[in-house]
Symmetry: C2
Subunit: 294 residues, 2 copies
């Protein structure tokens, strides 16, 4: 779980870097400075700190920014994969972790990348320096909101696993343990620990007053960043998965209803209704006919 | 694999329905008509046909559209899960299938949905009827492009599995078999069969001239639809995963480079370079020091 969350956090930071570079037009050194500033605020963490360090580094051999010399294919040792495979067994939707894991896999798919190279991308013009500064603030909101969602997915998966396997897990203590010498260490984990200390059965971090207020402030810029990335052709698999998770879970009605109906239509899998208990089946060959109990 | 692709196709159709309903403001009956029209074109398929049938159906008990009465939690029998778990072992990025599988899981997460209910969404105003008609055409492009990417992910996973397990698979024949009585049956599969008949080692459907031209025509409206959904708060996990896959694979440089550097920084995992063969390690404690071979 720790490493699954770490995969998501690293992918989100990488997407923020890519947006600041390709949309805002900043150099790696300038982005190192931005990350350095963010490291003093709510995003302060070991991973942001070393991202700044890597971005500030000049390659001694070429004199180029190190990040432009290192291969753009990320390795993995399998812990992200293991997290997502277990999440699928638990039906626990850790979509930001899944997208981060697949993003590493995609980066290593050389033949596939060669096949897609040259396909057309977005067309919108670059930002002015003033617009870039505003965009940087939007990216900070988007990164923070996506991070809260990714961590929320992780903690919920621990809850789902505890329920499935009959474990007793102190969710506040998990945050306390990871506050120490591990890779996702950050003051942010104190916030999570406090939330689960105040309510040990908290279903979601987003129910906690402080996180809810921050997400409320972040959601419009978060949406603007995901929309800009889509229009400009910058890949943001984890940012957009986190936003889709947020919008899926807060939706009053999901289009899963249509899918649910289709499954009854092609497989007679039956369906449940909003107004009656039980399992129902419709005779789809005669669409006028009332729903009948299966 | 068939069922994994089916999960993606159904989720994409469900997202198209949701956009037409919530952004364009159409009724289920109107969307049934739109899907009926689409069924005569390149999206023609059994799944679009039964989506139209379900949307056109009025619930006999309540007199309401059936899709508003059926529970909005989609069941699953585990075949999508199995596809994604195998894809993770193969490092084959089937992100649209993964997002579709997790979307079903999320729809059934009652407590989590209750926790997120009431969190703020998008703020943009509804579309006029003229704008709605234009948006409908954009959604058709977005659905088609996302579908091509999802099927491309599926066929590539079969190739990755064949390479890993030493199977000899005739990729054109797979399309031919699924052209028959199965759930993803569609004239579209003839296009895939023709592509792999013309080039049995085709790495991606998007390398084939006809698909490449269609994606070229679709990509701007596709981006506009994903951007609109993000800004308006409509969840499009599969549309946006397909677009992120497209933009990831066509990118000249991926921010995986930053991640790759971070992994050397915190774990001395070493890194590869774009200009030299071999594995390298930087002494991050002394950032001025040149890269040294590990």
């Amino acid at each position: 779980m720790h490493n699954g969350i770490e995969y998501a956090d690293m992918q989100l930071i990488a997407e923020a870097y890519d947006l600041l570079r390709q949309v805002a037009g900043y150099t790696p050194a300038e982005i190192a400075d931005i990350f350095g500033t963010w490291n003093e605020g709510r995003l302060g963490s070991y991973l942001i700190e070393i991202a700044a360090e890597v971005l500030a580094h000049t390659d001694a051999r070429t004199g180029l920014p190190f990040v432009d010399v290192v291969a753009d294919a990320a390795g993995q040792k399998g812990t992200g994969r293991w997290t997502v495979q277990t999440a699928l067994d638990l039906a626990s939707p850790v979509t930001a972790i899944a997208q981060a894991t697949f993003a590493r896999a995609a980066s290593g798919q050389r033949e596939l990348r060669a096949a897609y190279a040259g396909l057309p991308g977005g067309t919108t013009p670059p930002l002015s320096r003033t617009e870039a500064a505003r965009f940087t603030s939007q990216v900070e909101h988007a990164l923070y909101a996506s991070k809260v969602v990714a961590y929320d997915q992780g903690w919920k998966m621990i809850q789902d696993a505890a329920a499935e396997y009959g474990w007793k897990i102190d969710l506040a203590a998990v945050a306390g343990i990871w506050r120490g010498g591990c890779i996702i260490r950050a003051a942010f984990l104190d916030r999570i620990r406090a939330a689960y200390t105040a309510d040990r059965d908290l279903v979601s971090l987003l129910s906690e007053e402080g996180f809810a207020r921050e997400i409320g402030d972040a959601q419009v810029p978060w949406r603007e960043v995901v929309a800009s990335a889509a229009r400009r052709g910058i890949p943001v698999p984890a940012f957009s998965a986190a936003l889709a998770h947020y919008d899926t879970l807060r939706a009053g009605r999901l289009p899963a209803a249509l899918l649910h109906g289709q499954r009854d239509s092609f497989g007679a899998h039956t369906y449940r209704r909003t107004d009656l208990d039980g399992a129902f089946h419709t005779n789809w060959a005669r669409p006028g006919r009332p729903a009948t109990e299966a």
